[in-house]
Structures are given as structure tokens and as C-alpha cells.
Amino acid sequence: MHPENQKHDFEPKIIAFVCTWCTYAGADLAGTSRMQYPANVRVLKFPCTGRIDPVFILKAFQQGADGVLVSGCHPGDCHYIAGNYHARRRFAAFRKLLEFIGVDLGRLAFSWVSAAEGGKWVEVVTDLTEKVRAMGPMVEFKALALEEQWSGAIDTPELQEAYDAI
């Protein structure tokens, strides 16, 4: 059976941050080649992975994304010479941080997909979607957001004490 036609209980929300020169073009190629992949992904286009601020990833998780994909040109192929190298370094550090705050790193994928790799785009998107589907919804940040709302008031003596001490 075609994976598209299968019904699932949980449809994860996947956000993809891609560069315009390689991965966006690769995703276009998947389209012109009429390849098929799960409809869960929403693509945001950037000039270069170098432009992608880790804050965007946090923001995406906060907005209810269950998985985030960051994809750009292969190392050495950056349209802007070296943007993807800077991105790679930045995200290597960022992953550690995410791990530290307790986000399952399986929800965050990095890949290199060139303009010629429509098939790889399909593979990467399908893999991440299925992986995240198996992991279930992302609850960590949603809970945090909720907590954020009601903890606005200082309603315990301990908190008041801590607040005064600052």
C-alpha cells in the first residue's frame, strides 16, 4: 500500500528550514519528478543555511512542531562559499544545548541535499516524518509554554523569597 494512503493516529508537524540554492531546488526536483512523500512537512526558504538562527528551531518547537529538519548544500558546495560550514558548526553546538534541555535529538535532523538530489529529499523527509511519528507528539515545549502562562504570578512564599533575593 502506498504510504500516502495509510491512516495514522498521529500526524506530526514537521518544519523544514532549507537553503534556496540546494535543498529548495532539490525539493523542486522531487516535485518535477513527481516523487511522493508525506504531506506533513512545511518548508521555509532561506538564502543559505548560514542564515538559519538556532532561535528559529526553538521557535518552531515552541509553535508546536514535532520535528525540525535543517538542510542545505553539501559541504564544499555552498553557493555562498562557506555559509553551510558556519551553519554546521553552529548546529553542532546547538544540538548539545537542546540535549541538555531535554529535547530528544531524534526530532531534529540535519542533512545535505543538493539541487540534483530530489530522491534524497524524499528520503530525508519521509524518514524524519516516520521517525517522529513513532516518537509521538512533542510535549516538552508545550508543557513549558503552559507553565509559563500560569507561573506569571508569584503565588508561593518560596517564589516570593527567591524573587526578592534577586
Binding site: 502506498h2 500516502e4 494512503n5 508537524k13 518544519i15 534556496t20 540554492w21 540546494c22 529548495y24 531546488a25 525539493a27 523542486d28 522531487a30 516535485g31 518535477t32 513527481r34 516523487m35 511522493q36 512523500y37 504531506a39 512545511r42 518548508v43 521555509l44 526558504k45 532561506f46 538564502p47 543559505c48 548560514g50 542564515r51 538559519i52 538562527d53 532561535v55 528559529f56 521557535k59 518552531a60 509553535q63 508546536g64 512542531a65 548544500c73 564544499g76 558546495d77 553557493h79 555562498y80 562559499i81 562557506a82 555559509g83 558556519h86 551553519a87 553552529r90 543538493s114 539541487a115 540534483a116 538530489e117 524524499v122
Partner: protein, 665 residues
């Protein structure tokens, strides 16, 4: 409050087949800020564009979102239309619901929901778009051509004939490229040298062409209209101004047994050499790896015999910077080799054909040198192993090409024709010999091409065998060819005297490294990518850089020449203007927030970030901040993601815009 207009395209049925476009228009129409929303069969058509323009005027729209194909396809089209209606073009965005939605999903419900999301994202984004003024830059009317084969020569001559200066850079000591190596050319069998060398001389004599041979591109900076190119001129060890090209040095050089690459290593040359007699320039080069002087410090015969005193052992590599407005890349091809490949290379050699260790198994280019009147055998077909004339010769097509097992799946396009030519040349030269060709199918589209192939069979008596060869091995002084004839359905064995392999055409070695210097993209084989396969076949996606010849994909001579002239025409169109507009996607610094840490400067690959002093009225220095030169900035945005105080912003991709999109989900 913004008044956004949303235009949903059916793209014939390409989108509407899987996406319920009417529902998308309805739902998006309800979003805050959307004043108008509609769908239409072909939004990019003239009536479609008119619809957009009319809506902008009648509905007093402030922003536009067109939901259709990829922005890579039609963003320019719609931004132009929006501009014509009086809006700033950067207030128009495209939502890609074709390549990223209707074409990749089958389920109508899912695709429609996704399309609504995509359009919704773009609606939120466009609200935050700002008016961006176009940036104009001056155009330097000089062109750089990289690679001096027939493609580069043609492009250089065309541009120069139009009155513009051209800088032609060639890696080898002479221009001419592979075409200079060929014996005769299909389908007319005219001699390659006879048609090639006059053009080479034209290049040398053209007042508008500056020729750098034995030189390579070191660095490319800048952008369309304003490139700075650093060229490394390798030490020739011969002063080009003094040398008269008399050639005495070469006759006296004691090192005479160096395999000549131009002759596919079957002919020999001296250590001081020109690759072939008709070389342009006719100035020799000293091959320092093989020269006795450079190896031992003794000899110097060439220096002693050189009348004008042109030999200069002390010469160094020099770097030259040239300013150009456009670049034509014409670096050509290289031949696949059946030899074992180094570990890590995706391309495998042919162990079943002996990994290049059977001496009389040669490639097509080597056969060209054997057949060439100016080649190492004077045009006689002789075996490299023992110099005997082969009486049974086997040609094998598609070696490397169309072999995904070896790492190459494309067709090399020219082999069918040149092998047919080889059988003819062989038949003309060895009257009592027999040529056999193992092939899968003959690909001969082109004017007079199929007739040429048929002639090789019907008149020149080549025996074509439909089927591939499994293995070649040496048995005595014969080469056993284990093949099959699939038309008959039997195995075929031929004891051949010589085997010629039509090996695949690949991009030049180092094509990827050059592409990285130029900032142009290439495919997995390292062929350079054109901006659009059909409509922009000679332009790179990087503005101001054009492609000609086999560096973009396998091509024969007529096609290469056509593309070279086309690339030249593109360059001339660019040079017809004094100023040109460029996309205003550049970074800007918010000076109030900048603390002058210059992290942005460190990550900028273009050197676009400068230091700017801010002084008070008395002239006292307040602080030093970053400044982005909009002429140099390429718009990658790495600086913005790096800036710790969020004081630099990339126009068109601001944090505000991105966050708006994420929040729309």
C-alpha cells in the same frame, strides 16, 4: 492595516488536480489582512497577470501573494507584474503549492490542507515585507573566458569581435584543447587541425584578446558586472617576450623520452617543449619535474643554445588581478579511465577489461592520435605494444557511460558517432583489416549523422555486433574479447589485435574546485549546472557567469560552438548597458545596537563587512561599528545568524518575517 491580495493558480490541472484551489482561496480569504483572494487557471499567462494588476489597482492592495509554482520558476514574472501595477516588487511573495505540494502528494484532503498552510505562511510573511529599493551597479565591460578549447576560443572571438576586451585563461601551455588532438571530425571527415589552427591564430592575433596560457584561476571575488579575478601564471621558465619560437632548445634538449600528454602518452617529447607543433603561443615550457637542470642543477643546454636568451630558470609563479564584468566557463571534458580508481572515488574502473594494464587496449582519444597525420605514428594505425598494424580491431561502446555500476549513468553522446568515424578511418588506412563494434544501440541524432553511421557499415564494412563485452584478456599477443550478440542470442569470441574503448566523457579534473571558487553549482558528476534546463541553458544560476561546451555536459563540436556563441551573446547583452540592477537582498547594520564585536566580519566570505567609525559633532570617536558594503554583500545572511546582539539584518529575510512564518503554523 495591510490589504493583501492572494492569487491561487490552477496551473492548468497541475495544481487543481490534487489541491482544492477554490477552498484554498476561500479559507485564505478569511485570514486577517487579506482583502482579496481568488483563483485562476493560468496565473502566469497574460490574462492571469492582468488579473493581478487589475486587482492591485481596483482593490488598492498593499501586498500580494501568488500561490503557484516554485519561486525559482516565476517569482521574477510576478514581481515584474506587481511593479507594473505600481507596487514595490518585494511586496510580492510566491507560495509554492505545485513542486512542494500538488506534485508530491496524492491525497486531495492532505494536499489542500498543506496548501492552505503554505499560503497562510506566506501571507504572514508578506505582511512584514518592506519596500526595498533596487540597487544599481556599474558594469565592467571586459569578459573572462576560462578554458581555451574550441568553446573558449569561439566565445572569446565572438565577444572580442564585438569590440569588448576578453581575457582568455588556459591551464595547458597551449590553447586548442581536445579538438586540437582529434584527427578528423564527423560527419564530414574534415581534418580537425585544418579547421582549428586558424581559429587559434585568430585568438593570438586579436587586439582585444589577452591570452594567459599555463595559467589557472586562483580566486574570484565580486559579482555580476564587477568581478575581481586573480590568475596564477605558472612559471614557464621561458620569457615569452624574448622567445622567437625557433625551437632550437627543443631539438637540443637531452631529455627526449617523456610521454607527451597531448599524444595520450604514446608519443614522446623533450623536457622543454610545446605540446604540438601548431601550439599557440608557440613558446615552449620547461617541465620542471623532468628537466635535468631542475633535478640536478646541471645541464642548461637550452639556455646555452637560445639565441635571444629567453630561458629563465629563475622565473616564479606570478599572480595577476583582472577586473571583469562577466565570466564564460568553458573548461571542457576529460576522458574516463578504466584504470583502478583511488579509494573514495565514486567512479570505479574496469577490472574486467584489465584495469588499463593490457597495452593494446586503448581509448578513443589515443586512437585519434594514432590516426592523426601529425600524431606520433604519422597517421599509421600501429599497436602501442609492438608497433604492428592490427588486422582485427574491436571497438567497444559505452565504456563507463550508461554504467551506473561504475558510478556513471549518463550517455556520453558523442561516442556512437566517433566510433563510426574510427571504423572508417581504420578501413581507409588498413585495407585488409576488419573492424568490429560491440554496441547497445546507435545514438545518431543530428544532421547527416545517421547516414554517416550507416555508411560505416554499408560502405566501410564495419561489423556491428549488438551486445556488450564481459571481459578482455591477453592471450599471447592477442586480446580475447568475450562478448555476445543478443540479436542472435549466442556468445561471441574475437581474438583481436587491438581494442579501442569508447570511454565516458567526464568533466575536467578539478571542475568542482573551480566551481567552488566561482560559486556556481554542479551536478553529482561535477558537470556545471545551467540556470534552467530548457530556457536558460547557457547561464549559471549565479548572475554574470555563463557556460559553454562540455563542462556543462557531453557535447559534440557543433553543439559546443553554438553554445559558446550563445554564451558570448549573453555577455554582449550584459555589456550593452552601463549600469545594471541587482536584487536588493543585502544585509544592513543597525548601528545603535552594534557593539563592534565583528563576529559578522569573521564569517563573511565576501569581505563585505567593513569597520565604520561613529563620531560625535566634535569629531570624538564614539564607537566603531560594522558596515555592510551593499555592492559586495551577496545576501547569504550568515552574519545575521551570527550576530550576538541581533544588530544586522538581511533585507528580505528578516527575523520578523521568519518568525511570522513560524508563528503562522
Amino acid at each position: 492595516m495591510s490589504r493583501i491580495g492572494v492569487f491561487i493558480c490552477h496551473c492548468g490541472e497541475n495544481i487543481s488536480r490534487t489541491v482544492d484551489v477554490e477552498r484554498v482561496a476561500q479559507e485564505v480569504g478569511r485570514l486577517p489582512g487579506v482583502a482579496f483572494s481568488t483563483d485562476y487557471k493560468y496565473m502566469c499567462s497574460d490574462p492571469g497577470q492582468t488579473l493581478v494588476k487589475k486587482a492591485i489597482q481596483e482593490q488598492k492592495l498593499s501586498h500580494v501573494v501568488v500561490a503557484a509554482c516554485s519561486p525559482r520558476m516565476h517569482e521574477k514574472t510576478f514581481r515584474k507584474a506587481v511593479e507594473a501595477a505600481g507596487l514595490n516588487p518585494f511586496l510580492c511573495e510566491m507560495a509554492n503549492i505545485r513542486e512542494h505540494c500538488s506534485w508530491v502528494h496524492e491525497n486531495r484532503e492532505e494536499a489542500t490542507v498543506k496548501a492552505i498552510d503554505i499560503v497562510g505562511m506566506m501571507v504572514e510573511r508578506v505582511k512584514k515585507n518592506r519596500i526595498l529599493p533596487t540597487i544599481t551597479v556599474p558594469v565592467t565591460k571586459r569578459a573572462l573566458v576560462i578554458g581555451g578549447g574550441i568553446a573558449g576560443i569561439q566565445a572569446a572571438l565572438d565577444i572580442a569581435d564585438c569590440g569588448h576586451e576578453v581575457i582568455l585563461v588556459e591551464r595547458e601551455p597551449s590553447i586548442g584543447g581536445h579538438m586540437a588532438q582529434l584527427s578528423e571530425t564527423f560527419p564530414t571527415l574534415d581534418c580537425s587541425q585544418c579547421i582549428m589552427t586558424p581559429k587559434m591564430v585568430d585568438v593570438a592575433n586579436h587586439p582585444k584578446i589577452k591570452l594567459y596560457t599555463y595559467s589557472e584561476i586562483e580566486l574570484v571575488e565580486g559579482y555580476i558586472g564587477n568581478f575581481q579575478v586573480t590568475i596564477k601564471k605558472k612559471a614557464r621558465s621561458v620569457d615569452e617576450d624574448k622567445c622567437t619560437g625557433c625551437g632550437v632548445c627543443m631539438t637540443k634538449c637531452p631529455q627526449k623520452k617523456i610521454p607527451n600528454k597531448f599524444d595520450q602518452n604514446i608519443g614522446m617529447r623533450t623536457a622543454i617543449y610545446v605540446p604540438f607543433p601548431q601550439a599557440v603561443p608557440n613558446t615552449p615550457v620547461i617541465d620542471r619535474d623532468n628537466c635535468t637542470w631542475f633535478k640536478t642543477g646541471k645541464c642548461g643546454v637550452c639556455q646555452k643554445v637560445c639565441g635571444p636568451g629567453a630561458i629563465d630558470f629563475e622565473q616564479q609563479d606570478t599572480l595577476i588581478v583582472e577586473a571583469v564584468g562577466a565570466i564564460v566557463v568553458s573548461t571542457g571534458f576529460d576522458l574516463y579511465t578504466i584504470a583502478e580508481k583511488p579509494k573514495g572515488s565514486p567512479i570505479k574502473g574496469y577490472g574486467e577489461f584489465g584495469h588499463g594494464k593490457i597495452p593494446d587496449v586503448i581509448d578513443g582519444m589515443t586512437f585519434e592520435r594514432l590516426a592523426s597525420a601529425s600524431g606520433p605514428t604519422g597517421g599509421k594505425i600501429l599497436r602501442p605494444s609492438d608497433g604492428k598494424e592490427p588486422k582485427q580491431i574491436v571497438f567497444i561502446q559505452c565504456v563507463g557511460s550508461r554504467a551506473r555500476e561504475k558510478g556513471i549513468s549518463y550517455c556520453s553522446k558523442v561516442c556512437c558517432m566517433y566510433t563510426a568515424k574510427h571504423t572508417m578511418l581504420y578501413h581507409h588506412k588498413v585495407h585488409d583489416g576488419q573492424a568490429y563494434v560491440f554496441f547497445m544501440d546507435a545514438r545518431t541524432p543530428g544532421k547527416s549523422y545517421d547516414e554517416f553511421w550507416r555508411r560505416s557499415i554499408e560502405e566501410e564494412e564495419a561489423v556491428y555486433i549488438r551486445g556488450m563485452v564481459s571481459r578482455l584478456y591477453q592471450k599471447g599477443d592477442k586480446i580475447v574479447v568475450m562478448g555476445s550478440d543478443i540479436s542472435v542470442g549466442v556468445q561471441v569470441e574475437i581474438e583481436a589485435d587491438m581494442v579501442v574503448l569508447a570511454t565516458a566523457i567526464q568533466p575536467q579534473k578539478g571542475a568542482d574546485a573551480l566551481a567552488q571558487k566561482l560559486g556556481i553549482s554542479y551536478d553529482k558528476y561535477h558537470f556545471y549546472s545551467e540556470a534552467h534546463a530548457k530556457l536558460r541553458p547557457v547561464e549559471c544560476a549565479t548572475a554574470g557567469i555563463y557556460l559553454a561546451g562540455a563542462c556543462q555536459g557531453p557535447k559534440d563540436i557543433p553543439e559546443t560552438v553554438s553554445q559558446a556563441s550563445a554564451a558570448a551573446a549573453k555577455v554582449m547583452a550584459l555589456f550593452s548597458r552601463n549600469q545594471m540592477e541587482r536584487e536588493p537582498i543585502v544585509a544592513r547594520v543597525r548601528e545603535a545596537g552594534c557593539v563592534g564585536c565583528f563576529a559578522c566580519k569573521k564569517v563573511c566570505a565576501y569581505g563585505a563587512v567593513e569597520e565604520k567609525e561613529i563620531r560625535d559633532r566634535q569629531g570624538n570617536l564614539i564607537k566603531v561599528v560594522a558596515y555592510v558594503n551593499p555592492g559586495v554583500c551577496a545576501g547569504c545572511g550568515t552574519c545575521q545568524a551570527t550576530c550576538p546582539s541581533k544588530s544586522v539584518e538581511l533585507d528580505g529575510y528578516t527575523d520578523e518575517q521568519i518568525i511570522a512564518m513560524i508563528e503562522a503554523l
